[in-house]
Symmetry: C2
Subunit: 495 residues, 2 copies
């Protein structure tokens, strides 16, 4: 049937949704029902969308509304006449159903599933079913390899000149673990080519890209990234702008509300993005311990093996570093607060957080050895020299200026100081409670929001001594964060 | 934060969604992100909703939009000032995660999950995860019993006077299998109390309630249902208006797009609705065979045992009749077309479809014996007498007049005749293709749409002989149905 397209400005988190007026649906007398699929086409383009019923003025009579992502995919103006017809379910539904019934899937199955995901043909129902099925009937290494390959092929891919193209990534889960800008600066200063692509926060108070963005522009076109890799050996950009392995973001959006952290999807996600970004050598930081993503040493070691083996099949050299992930790193949690920590380390300031500095040097040293920029056993020393000589900071500042320098904004001025209610020794600082509090305070959307943490495990505290400051950009957000913190008084455990 | 409530008229298929303007979200500087949960409250009521981001005029600055179901739950006018704050995930998420990780759940877990589902606290992501988890890690009998009990408790319940309250239900999947109005008329004529509550179509071209609704009003208040049970011994009403086991409909809406037909959910759904509707004795028609819900005899027998055992724990006497479900029943598929078949049988017309009549008599006979209205071996004979004497039709007409008589509307006037392309014998009539074609033609929303089927398995046909007519209420819908039919030429297989 012919209808007039209307952009109704609903994001729907990238789900393709078509909104049709209740009476319109009746009038046209076609066999369409809410939650059915429709194909909307104009000129030579078409999108598959899930039908929602609207009433009132949102979708006028004779019109069809599309969610933002579907609207963008169709690529025609509001007001264009479009053709709407019933559509079959996505082609890969049969493969998804086989995964649910316990089967292992073949490479072509993943190609079909990833294609349907990227084209927005999977609603949240199918996406969730895929994630839960692959969690309960776990993907084996062959399947992870197939999924990863399909994700790479179904997005953009970068290529750099050079036989060794390095990158560095942490699997995440530890607030304040912002080593990447420091490691990239040291490595690029050593001459290693390391065009770093990082992500924004999904579940954390700040992703590497969120933190770096407080200091410089991170959305660069591919041409500029290649120029930076050639001239400076490194860059610090947001990978999300580059459409690398785009299926990944859609999978993550349903894992998140379920708190599902599927090992297989994590491996596929990281390897696909790094391979698509043109890396040949990738150093992975795998934090382990209570409250991190790999809670036990066994899981960390299992992950290491899978990363290396599947990476090798993709032509990627993977070095996994298992690190302590049982508590936050540094003092700052939140974009600006973390950026301040990073700058202090790069500038060799006396109050630079020691844990962040030590971890950055450790990872840098391993990366230099792994890529042949330092002889075995000499990497850490070489990294320390590059940091202390100021070469790493100089490199960082050159990259910052070339990407488009920004100055740090002020911290959120609505502040709550949290003090100890007893004397003793800090026994635990819980990643998840720190993370949730910082997010409620507004991080990362409000870059000046977050937590400044003064105490770590093992520190002694006096009754009434300051433990942390919560920064917000509004009184209301501060109240949400403080209320949450107070209801979870074991965020910092003192014994 | 305080915002002005706006009803934006989006159905979202009963998911609680809050729509907030992109700039508004920034302005308030609170830690809220798309897909987060928010609690929206006004006076003493509150709803939990998933946050979606809107842009443009749909949600004006300073406002928050709610999807229809969330709006109705909150129960205040558009324009009311509401309080919006970040909320934790639904309480039962932890239990859902345990099911995903392979555990069996306890009775209280199902109480919590069903409560979150009914209150709309589960988005489609959690609902889908629950359905897929319970499919892959199947519910055992204890779990089905717990789920069923929780579903009953979390909705309305009817109670009738009488020690035997009967009902009848088919598990579905077979187009045209519209025995219920006939069986209920015969049973009520025999003096059995049978206040039948049926459902509208979910995946079929017509539910019992859709068909009956073409002949009489099916939305009756509880008081009228009780009066009919007392005066006429029977009624034919839509159960959906009564809020019996409301979690069920929400579970079904995500099973449907995935074509998941979980045995456990089906048992829970049927037993919960029948128990909540006040039944003590339930006759279940379980069609078996290719293209039906219980494709093999083994599955049908397994189903029978589970229905009986779990039913017994709920205090329900269950009689399961395993019938042939390999092809459509009767001539009509679609609300009006099926109603015509039902009337022909009740009126003992000479061209009444024999298969529908025979099946109705068989099921009625078993029901009369099972409930003690006929001695063993005499039920079928008693049923036949009640039908042929006109007593069943008289009962039907009394119920029809008391519920609110309607006259049948005309069949859809846009008609396509489908003829055989070869001579031979009908080897198969495929339920799924007949179903999908009738739905594309407009059934059940357009009651006059559907299929009139002239041939069944075993019939001989000549080249060019009429096989079926497709009826639609618009040319466009007819085209959709015909196109689908022609692309699936094996809807009727002739050998």
């Amino acid at each position: 049937m012919k209808l007039t397209l209307k952009r109704i400005g609903i994001d729907a988190y990238r789900e393709n949704i078509a909104f049709l007026d209740h009476d319109e649906l009746k009038k046209f007398s076609v066999g369409l029902h809410p939650m059915d699929r429709v194909e909307v086409s104009a000129n030579d383009r078409k999108v598959l969308a899930v039908l929602n019923v609207a009433e009132g003025t949102t979708v006028p009579s004779g019109s069809i509304g599309l969610s933002d992502s579907a609207f963008a995919k169709l690529g025609v103006e509001s007001g264009t006449t479009v053709d709407v017809r019933p559509a079959d379910p996505p082609k890969s539904l049969e493969q998804l159903r086989r995964k649910i019934s316990g089967a292992h899937l073949l490479p072509q199955d993943f190609v079909n599933i990833v294609d349907d995901i990227v084209e927005g043909r999977y609603s949240k129902v199918e996406l969730t079913a895929f994630v839960v099925a692959a969690t309960m009937n776990p993907l084996n290494d062959d399947e992870v390899y197939s999924l990863t390959s399909a994700m790479i092929d179904r997005g953009e891919q970068l290529h750099f000149n050079g036989s060794i193209i390095a990158d560095k990534h942490s699997i995440g889960g530890v607030p304040g673990n912002r080593t990447t800008p420091i490691v990239v600066s040291i490595a690029a200063a050593s001459g290693l080519i390391i065009p770093n692509t990082s992500s924004r926060s999904v579940t954390s108070p700040s992703g590497t890209a969120d933190t770096v963005e407080t200091l410089m522009n991170v959305e660069l076109p591919v041409k500029r990234i290649k120029e930076l890799a050639a001239s400076e050996k490194g860059c610090l950009v947001w990978g999300g702008a580059l459409n690398l392995a785009p299926a990944d973001d859609l999978i993550i959006q349903v894992e998140h509300p379920l708190s599902i952290d599927s090992e297989s999807f994590m491996i596929a996600s990281i390897l696909a993005k790094k391979k698509a970004a043109g890396a040949t050598h990738v150093l992975l930081d795998v934090p382990t311990g209570s409250g991190s993503k790999a809670e036990t040493a066994e899981r960390a070691v299992g992950l290491e093996q899978r990363f290396r083996q599947i990476g090798a099949r993709l032509g990627l050299n993977i070095q996994v570093m298992i690190t302590d992930g049982s508590q936050p790193i540094g003092n700052g949690v939140g974009p600006v607060l973390e950026a301040k920590d990073v700058l202090k380390v790069l500038r060799n300031e006396s109050d630079a957080p020691t844990d962040l500095k030590e971890r950055s040097l450790y990872l840098s040293g391993e990366l230099l050895e792994f890529t042949g920029r330092a002889p075995p056993g000499r990497g850490r020393n070489r990294a320390e020299n590059l940091l202390q000589s100021g070469e790493a900071y100089e490199k960082f500042e050159r990259i910052r200026n070339l990407q488009g320098r920004k100055e740090l904004i002020a911290l959120g001025t609505h502040v709550k100081e949290i003090c100890a209610r007893r004397s003793g020794r800090v026994n635990a600082v819980r990643n998840r409670i720190i993370t949730r509090t910082a997010k409620l305070a507004g991080a990362p959307r409000n870059p000046g929001a977050g937590i400044y943490l003064l105490k770590h495990v093992g520190d002694s505290v006096d009754d009434g001594e300051l433990l942390l400051r919560i920064h917000s950009e509004s009184e209301e957000a501060l109240l949400f964060a403080v209320t949450y913190w107070e209801e979870h008084a074991q965020g910092i455990e003192i014994v």
